[in-house]
Each structure stands twice: as structure tokens, then as C-alpha cells.
Amino acid sequence: MTAVLEKLTLYWAYPFVRYALIVGVLIALCSSLLGVTLVLKRFSFIGDGLSHVAFGAMAIAAVLQITNEMPLVMVITIISAVLLLRTGQDTKIKGDAAIAMISVGALAIGYLLMNIFSTSSNLSGDVCSTLFGSTSILTLSPVEVWLCVGMSVLVVAVFILFYNKIFAVTFDENFARATGTKAGLYNLLIAIVVAVIIVLAMNLVGSLLISALVIFPALSAMRMFKSFRSVTICAAALSVFCALIGILVSILAGTPVGSTIVAAQIIAFGLSWLAGAVIGGVRK
């Protein structure tokens, strides 16, 4: 135990470890907030779909040799998010099919572009790190950390300010619209926030594992709690906790950051499921 502590204190001295922890915790917090809404709206896979779009956008940026790819990726992802959440209402292609189409399509196009135009010598390595999360969380610059802090504050602020409206629109969109809530506007807002979160989170866990950050905390919390507010708070807390544990373990054991965090989430889900069953049993 003391050895572990010593090792941690040693690592703590390095700024990159502190940066990774700050960014990891913030991203985990943001992604869990909208998770409850997305799971309930049957959009669990939107994280997956959008992150593949972001992957495709990154490939385009790489081909065009744009050094600062963030704005382009952000814009393309936001547009896709808006389109995807719009199809959720009443259109010919249903939500899940639309997500699957865009997701697989963007992934294929992205890989194709990278393959044809790539200048890098280690193509499969590049692709792998975009899909499963790169080590870039350990090589963050202070500017990137501040950008992430700013975005996270924005996301949390938007979520708190619009919490009641998000609830109303998620629970019963028709009722909300009939009684004068601008449901379309709030759906748009949800889409934009989701896109921002996903672009941010890609650095951390990569595009294949992003759905885990979005849905696991929400599902775990829904096992144990009964009200929307307590589920949201619990999801946020669980997500932050798992991210912390995941990052620390990955630093100590040298495992990949993204997959370690997701593994922590899976264990947390199992425990929540048990806890939920026990609580339910006691009540009966």
C-alpha cells in the first residue's frame, strides 16, 4: 500500500499526470450529465455514431493538412448531431437506423481517406489510437487543459440552467410542445451539447468507447435511484469516480487509459445492479 502511495506521489509531481486527471474527471462529468436523457430517448448509440463522425472529420482534416482540426471536427459533429436527433421525431428512417448508417458510413469514409491520402508511416497505429483513445491525454498542453475546463464549465452551466426544460422534453415531448415549451429548440440544444461533449471525450477514450462514458453511469444510477434528480447526480458522481480510478490504475499498471476507465464503469454497473436488487428486495 505504501509503495502504491509513494508511486502516486512521485507521479503527482509531473504536470501531465495532473492535467490528465483534471481533463479526465471533467469529461467524465460532462458526458454523464446528458446520459440519462439519451438513454431514455433511446439514443444510447448516438455517442458511438457521433464519435465516428468525428473520426471521419479528423480524417478529412488530416487529408487537408489542417493543423488545428478542432473547429472543423466540432462543426461537422454538431451538424450531424442536429440531423440525427431530428430524425428521432417522425421521419422515414428511424433513430437507430439513422445512427447506424451515419456511424458506419463515417467510419468507413474516414478510414478510406486516411488510407488513400495518409502521410503517416504508422497508419494502423493512428487509426487504432483514434478508435480506442490515444495516449494524448497524457500529453496535454496547458492550453488544451484550459480549453477543456472552459467547455466543461459551459456544458455544466447549460445543463443546470436548462435542467427543468430538458426533463420536460425528455419525459413527454408532445405534452411539452402542446403546452408551449419550445421543444424543438431544446432538442437542438441537447444535440449541440452532446456533440461538444463527444468531441472533447474522443481524446480520452477514443471513438469506440465513448458510448460507455455516456450510458454506463446513467444505467448504473437508474438501477439504484428513483427520481430524475437523484439519478442525474448519482450518474455524475459515479462517472467522475470511475474516471479517477481508471486513470490512476492505468498510470500505475500501465494499461490503456480509455479501456481501463470503461472497465471501471462495467464493475460499477455490476455493483449498482446488485445494490438495486438488494434495495428492491428490502422494500418488498
Partner: protein, 237 residues
Amino acid sequence: MAQLTCQNLCVGYDGKSVLQDLNFEVFAGDYLYIVGENGSGKSTLMKTILGLQPPISGRILTGDGLRKNEIGYLPQQTVVQKDFPASVREIVLSGCQGRCGSRSFYNKEEKQLAEAAMDKMQITQLAKRCYRELSGGQQQRVLLARALCATQKMLLLDEPVSGLDPKVTAELYALIEKLNREDGITVIMISHDMAAAVKFASHILHIGDTVFFGTKAAYLQSPQGRLFAAEKGGEDQ
């Protein structure tokens, strides 16, 4: 002046009309039943009245102090709601959302309104319970309380008793009738339940191959109404 007037209304989806040339008026305190076969366009008509979809042609006018977004709505349950983690209080309070406009949080007045609505629906003791654990009848009361937060004037109910057992159905009907009688809330109800329609309605709108609109007494004398009465007579034997 009527609270709700439909003039030459034609409703439907994607430019295809389901119902043509509807003309009817609803006055304050009326209890209107909209009856008809499955697929006759009852729900489409309701969505059009609520402004969820545009009419194909014709007009829907509101008057007598009723604003378009002051119509309370009791929808059919959606799949999403079946496993939604929310407490009863949270759901009832969300009925006040329309009043908030761009304000982020509910004020004291709105919270009191929600408490009063729960009290009226006799679900105050359930306030902290989880919605998905309630029985069907209790869930309908919660949604009714939410609708009361959105309106004091007009309620639209979409088959509120489907899937409820006879006892709970009777209780729910009694509650709705009380809202209509004592609080003067106009009720528009979509239903299959012809027996209840004849019992509670002040007016009936029958849609299908032929359309009838008028008071209950007139309905029972009409061809559609007599057809129903004959069927009912057949059941009694």
C-alpha cells in the same frame, strides 16, 4: 364566444387527409366525447387541436380567454415513460414548464400549483414515489395532475381509461367529472367507451364514414346514436 372553434377543418398526415370538413364548437364547461372506430382519425384530430401538427386545411380558433398553449393534455402512455426514473412531484411540476417561458427554475407559485394539483388528484402521499412503480390508475392521476398545472380551462384526454380495470376506471371517470362540474374545466375526451360517453358527455362528436356533432340528446336520436343504442340493447338481452 366558443373556447374552441373548428371551421371546415381537414386533418391528416403527409398531405393525405383522414378527416374532412369538420365543423364544431366547444364552449366553456362543455364535456365533449370524440368517438369513432380505430383509425377514424381521432388521435390525428387531437394532435391537430393541440398544435402538434398543422391542419391540412381549415381553421382552429381559440377564444373566450383560452390561449392556444393553455390546453392541458393527457396523452396515451409512451414506451419512454414506462421506465422513466422520475418522482411523481417532478412529473407534476413539469406541467408548469409552459408558464416558465425562458425562466430556468420553478418559482414558489408554480410549486404551490403543483401541490394543489396533486392534492386534487389525491396523490399527495405518492409525491416522492417513482412513477414507473405506480399502478396504471395512479399513473393516470399523476399525468392528470400535470395537465392541471398547465391549464385551468380545458383538458384534452386521449383514451385515459384504456388498460385500467373497471373499478379504477370508474374512479378516474368520477375525478374527471368532478373537474368538469366543480372546477368548470372544459373536457374533451377521446374514447371507445360508448357507455361512458352516453353517461357523462354533454356533447358528442362521432367521426367515421359519417360525422355527427351535437348534444348528447340529439346524438341518441341520430342514425349513429340509434345504431349504438340498438347494439347496447342487443347486449342487454
